[in-house]
């Protein structure tokens, strides 16, 4: 496990000391600031309620952009950079286990992804104060929303690691990850009405599609304060799946 910790620390330091991550955060928080600011202006005239605020805050466009685009950007360098520079050969010939390296790189991306979200939680607590919203926020639905965002993000991070392991081109790695995340978030919702026609003959197909309907999970379950272990299992097993694929991708290269 030393390899895991060493890899994780090294990768995490590279994220934390890279200005790129901060610039991404600045842009996203600026976008989010405009969104929530516009919501606040509307609320002055129309009023609102706590549920709608939590939903808007955590399922806003900026949140969706954050989980769709940031994980592929974070993971593009994981293996593609090392392949491009040739340092992957050193890694593969070293007496280290591939899965430890994969876990270490994924772990670092996961931790940094979480760090990007923490300020929003602190902000929410600040916003609930009298100087701003002056409401008692129920942190149950807030934390369940965060759980949903982190689960979805970790699945995309794991997929991004796999895509990164397949190419030495950073742009391709990023695009592949973004395509996956957009497909994951959009396709189940688009296909579900058609799939529903199969419900009588193949009910398990409809069940499967509802289990992978990511936007429904986020907007109708997690953000409402409902944590369904069945839906959580999709993400946890998905992370394991992609990390497994990444490991065998690395192993295959080692065999060559």
């Amino acid at each position: 496990m030393n390899v895991f910790w060493t890899t994780l620390k090294r990768e995490l330091m590279s994220y934390l000391f890279s200005p790129t991550g901060y610039l991404i955060a600045v842009l996203l928080y600026l976008f989010r600031g405009f969104e929530i600011g516009a919501w606040a202006k509307r609320t002055v005239y129309l009023g609102s309620n706590v549920d709608d605020f939590v939903f808007s805050y955590l399922s806003s466009s900026s949140s969706l952009i954050m989980i769709a685009f940031v994980p592929p950007i974070l993971t593009m360098r994981c293996f593609a950079e090392e392949r491009r520079t040739g340092s992957i050969e050193v890694l593969l010939t070293a007496p280290v286990r591939s899965w430890e390296v994969v876990l270490g790189k994924f772990g670092a991306a996961f931790v940094f992804f979480n760090i990007l979200w923490w300020p929003t939680l602190v902000l929410l607590w600040v916003l609930s104060g009298d100087a701003f919203l002056g409401v008692d926020l129920a942190f149950g639905p807030v934390l369940s929303s965060y759980l949903g965002l982190i689960l979805i993000g970790s699945l995309i991070l794991a997929a991004g690691c796999f895509v990164s392991s397949l190419t030495d081109n950073l742009l391709l790695a990023t695009l592949g990850g973004i395509l996956f995340s957009l497909g994951l978030m959009a396709l189940p919702g688009l296909l579900l009405p058609s799939v529903a026609l199969l419900s009588e003959d193949y009910p398990f197909v409809v069940t499967l599609f509802s289990q992978i309907h990511v936007m429904d999970h986020l907007q109708s379950w997690f953000s409402r304060g409902l944590i369904d272990t069945g839906r959580c299992a999709f993400y946890v097993t998905g992370v394991a799946f992609f990390l497994f694929l990444t490991t065998i991708s690395l192993e295959a290269r080692r065999w060559r």
Partner: protein, 534 residues
């Protein structure tokens, strides 16, 4: 060649491994979705998505009976608002839709195969929506239709109930509509309808229960005794009660007994709401004959502050064994900062939080839900020690707390004015007093007992029905022997509103647009500078 074969074999193994892994992933996902394996955690503060045990039991019973509950939704899209009022109202409407959709999702998940929820959208599925609307003979918009039938039955044969999810009137929520004549303070923002309490589970589960009960009991509301109306929507009428009775499978009719001189054979329950005139001896005899044949009656006789409008109902009282006084009963108001102390009098003393019998089937579940009705205009009633033969009275169905007393009254210019500010000092003046008394009457024919519920307070007027209606429905369902409909309070929750002023909005904007991104930018410069130094 062998190098090519090796590469091909290697890639083939990778592809097979990937396919196996994908199958394992999807298989585990499907397995985790099975009801026996998955768990649902409701972390909302009011546990708003957790059903009451009664609803859970109801869904289990329906599954065990191999029946299916079908819930069809017909939500109309809200138009574009053209003014402030419309913006509020349409926002309110969308909120009710969203809460109902969320709730129905839980019914669908929890009910499994026993519950099917389908949304009809006239825009995307014109034919399907039209066909279903015709099948149900639906006239209203913004409704959900709850149907119950066997799996093998054609959906057209299922019995159904319509619940309105329109903002006004609304069966699934309590909407606070400001009165038009409410004076507005200068400079105050306009008052708009707002969502006060959402009670979708109560409405839907009650609808399902009522569909399980066969038969339609008939309630005849007696007329001709100066009683309150069940027809108009004014605050001081009983329209809401009558509507709710209709919605839960009762037939509701009027009975001008003084004119007809007979009680129809199909009458299940007679109801008389706050009579202000005496019931003549002949009518009282007809009523008692009906009760002795196994009939049921709900008699609501509360206190009126107008002289001459507090009939003693002695013609019924002498047979059933009760005496209505002319005085109002008050109850000391507890001090929230010192709840164990006796309390104080005052204007609020006329509003009494009643106590329910913990074990009677009418009130047991409500009592267990920690729900209590608030009544007003409680009238003094006495039960003479000598009871009429064949009549048993239970005065404890609904009672006051231990600090009720009878205030002194001033009678002036036709009004009776209880002095609530002078409450007795001596403990002996206080006692628990009855709010609802259940009379069981031995039958003269057949074996079915007659029953009368005498309710001596005002609790079920339109303006109070949202709060107390459950108790009224439990009483009527009990009298109609629809025990399975006697229910607990379903989960209902208040929605927390946010009202902002301009200054707050500006502070939020400043924090989120300048403060946070600015801070992150400074941090990134610091990181970049630090990295360069290293």
């Amino acid at each position: 060649m062998s190098d090519w074969a090796t590469k091909f074999a290697g890639r083939l193994v990778l592809v097979l491994l990937a396919i196996l892994a994908t199958a394992a992933w999807l298989g585990l996902t499907l397995f985790a979705s099975r009801p026996a394996v998955r768990a649902l955690f409701d972390v909302t503060p009011e546990a708003r998505y957790t059903f009451t045990p009664e609803t859970d039991a109801l869904l289990d019973e329906i599954a065990a009976e191999d029946k299916v509950v079908r819930i069809d939704t017909f939500f109309e899209p809200t138009p574009v608002a053209t003014n402030e009022l419309e913006r509020h109202v349409y926002g309110l409407q969308r909120r009710i839709f969203n809460l109902t959709s969320d709730l129905l999702r839980i019914y669908d998940e929890r009910g499994g195969d026993a519950v099917q929820v389908k949304s009809y959208d006239r825009r995307s599925d014109v034919e399907g929506a039209r066909a279903r609307i015709q099948e149900l003979d639906l006239k209203q918009r913004n409704v959900i239709v709850v149907s119950l039938g066997s799996r093998s039955d054609d959906s057209r044969r299922a019995r159904s109930k319509v619940l309105s999810v329109h903002w006004n009137p609304c069966d699934v929520a309590q909407v606070d509509i400001p009165a038009r004549d409410r004076p507005q303070m200068p400079g105050a923002s306009a008052q708009y309808p707002t969502l006060d309490v959402y009670k979708g589970e109560e409405a839907i589960s009650t609808a399902i229960r009522s569909l399980r009960v066969e038969g339609t009991p008939t309630v005849y509301f007696l007329q001709g005794y100066g009683e309150s109306s069940i027809r108009d929507g004014a605050a001081a009428s009983y329209y809401a009660l009558a509507q709710r009775l209709r919605n839960t499978g009762f037939e509701v009719r009027d009975l001008p007994l003084r004119q007809t001189g007979r009680i129809p054979d199909d009458a299940t329950i007679l109801a008389l709401m706050e009579p202000t005139r005496e019931i003549p001896e002949r009518d009282a005899e007809l009523i008692m004959e009906f009760i002795r044949r196994g009939g049921r009656m709900f008699l609501n006789a509360s206190f009126s502050p107008i002289e001459g409008r507090n009939p003693s109902l002695r013609n019924l009282g002498s047979v059933l064994g009760f005496e209505l006084g002319n005085d109002m009963v008050a109850h000391l108001v507890a001090d929230p900062s010192n709840p164990t102390a006796r309390g104080r009098g005052g204007v609020q003393a006329q509003h009494i939080v009643a106590e329910l019998h913990p074990n009677h089937s009418v009130t047991r579940l409500l009592h267990a839900s920690r729900w209590a009705p608030t009544v007003t205009g409680l009238r003094e009633v006495k039960l003479p020690t000598e009871r009429p033969e064949g009549v048993f009275a239970d005065p404890s169905l609904v009672m006051t707390g231990p600090w009720s007393w009878i205030p002194r009254t001033r009678r002036d210019a036709g009004t009776i004015d209880p002095d609530l500010s002078a409450w007795p000092r001596s403990d002996g003046a206080y006692a628990k007093r009855s709010v609802a008394i259940l009379f069981d009457v031995d039958p003269t024919e057949g074996s079915r007992k007659g029953q009368v519920v005498l309710f001596t307070a005002t609790a079920f007027l339109n303006q109070m029905f949202e709060q107390n209606g459950l108790l009224a429905m439990n009483i009527f369902n009990y009298l109609a022997e629809r025990r399975e409909l006697v229910t607990a309070a379903g989960s209902r929750f208040r929605t927390s509103r946010i009202a902002l002023v301009e200054a707050q909005s500006e502070r939020i904007g400043a924090l989120l647009i300048y403060g946070v991104p600015g801070g992150l930018l400074l941090l990134s410069f610091a990181v970049f500078w630090f990295r360069r130094r290293l």
